[in-house]
Every structure is written in structure tokens, then in C-alpha cells.
């Protein structure tokens, strides 16, 4: 059943535990992310904020926000792609299909992690962009 690779086992206790822990962590962090990027309080109450370069640049000028955003990126990618992997495993697959699917998800996840990290980590807004 297990194709011989321990890390591929969706029923693994560590994997199961990590899915719960990352899930629990993601509840406040994702809600915070949605709140700070999409809402603004002022005037007659809560409004939807326009997301533009200036707004994102202001936030990413803080190394702490970079740390939070990169952590969120990596944790949510792990949680989401592992979830997809668990769902995919419900259908019976030949061992080579399983290994191929696992590799595809792994490479895809790594590519997205790199794409997201290179967006956030080296980001430096041109000084003019921070002035409205």
C-alpha cells in the first residue's frame, strides 16, 4: 500500500499532527492577513481597502511583516498541498502513479515557495512609491 516511502504515508502520525498544528496556527494568521490587507477602519465604519503598490510597500517596509508573510506562505503551502495529497490518496493508485503524484506536488510546492519568497524577501520599494 505504502509504495515503500514513509514520508508519503498520509496516515503518518507526525503528518496528521502537523496538519492540525499548522491548521490551528493558520486560523489567526490567515484572518490577520485578510484583515490587514483588505479592510480599513475609518469614516463611517469598516471599508474594503483598495490593494495597491503603496499599501503593500508600506507593510513590506517592515522586516517583521516580511517574516510574518513568508511564514504564512510556507505554512499555508504545506497545509494546503498536504491536504490535496491526502485527498488524492483516497483513490487507489499504482505505486508509480503515487510516486509521480507525490513528486509533482513536491516540485510544485517548492516552486511556489520560491516564487513567493523571491517576491517578499528582497522587496524594496522605490522611495517615491511610499509617498502618495
Amino acid at each position: 500500500m505504502n509504495g515503500g516511502l514513509r514520508g508519503m504515508n498520509s496516515g503518518g502520525l507526525i503528518g496528521w499532527f502537523l496538519q492540525r498544528m499548522t491548521g490551528l496556527l493558520l486560523v489567526p494568521v490567515v484572518l490577520l492577513h485578510v484583515w490587514v490587507t483588505h479592510y480599513i477602519v475609518g469614516g463611517s465604519g469598516v471599508h474594503q481597502a483598495e490593494v495597491d503598490y503603496t499599501m503593500v510597500a508600506a507593510r513590506l517596509s517592515s522586516p517583521w511583516w516580511k517574516l510574518i508573510d513568508i511564514s504564512l506562505l510556507l505554512i499555508v503551502l504545506y497545509h494546503g498541498l498536504r491536504g490535496v495529497w491526502v485527498v488524492l490518496q483516497e483513490a487507489p493508485h499504482r505505486p508509480w502513479v503515487r510516486i509521480a503524484l507525490y513528486c509533482v506536488i513536491l516540485v510544485f510546492g517548492a516552486a511556489l515557495a520560491i516564487l513567493g519568497t523571491v517576491t517578499i524577501l528582497p522587496f524594496r520599494a522605490p522611495p517615491a512609491a511610499l509617498l502618495r
Partner: protein, 127 residues
Amino acid sequence: MRYRWHLGYVAWLLNRVTGIAITAYLVIHIWVIHNLTKGPEGFNRVMAFVQQPLFKLGEIALLGAILFHAMNGLRVLCIEWAGGAGIQKRLFWWVMAIGLILFVFGAYPILVSAVGGGPVETGEFLR
């Protein structure tokens, strides 16, 4: 057939559907935000496109999916780790009520910006 649509089963199924949908969105989201490397003009052009009214409706659906997945996840944790199995059903309606309140609170401003006025510029209140 009644057993098939048991509350726990529906919650389990919806958890998978929303999980897959959120992950699909995540892929697009990372791709779209990567446009930040194109500088102010490039990024703002893309963001103006994805903040049209039709996308706003998608955002409301996304908010609903995220809140369902998060609230249901907390319910699962309560059942598995906090001995909540005995009050499973009540727990489900409790977390869904909290989710619904957060949904109405979050969806309303998006709906307002979708049907009229458009989103508020961050600088508008800071001036």
C-alpha cells in the same frame, strides 16, 4: 441513505471541497502577487484588473470558504483534543454561528465596494 448525509459527513465533505478551493486560489494568489516585482505601474495594473466587481463576488465566496474551513477545523480540534465528541452537533452549530457572524461582518464591506463606490484608498483616511 440518511446516514450518508449525516452532519459529520457533510462537514467532512465541505472541509475537503473548501480546502481544495482555497489551495487552488493560493496558487493563483502567489502568482498574482509576484507582480510586485514589476514595480508600481505593473502591480497596480494587475491589481486594478483583479479588483473589478466580478472578482469581488469571488472574494466573498473565498471568505466564506476560508471561514468554513477555519471554523470546522477548530471543531475537529475540539473533538479530537478537547473531548468534544459528546457535544459534536452543538459544537458544529456553535462554530458555524461564529463563522457566520464573521462572514457577514467581512462580506458586507466587500459587497458595498462591489455594487458602488469601489474600494476605499488607504490614504483616504490617513490624510
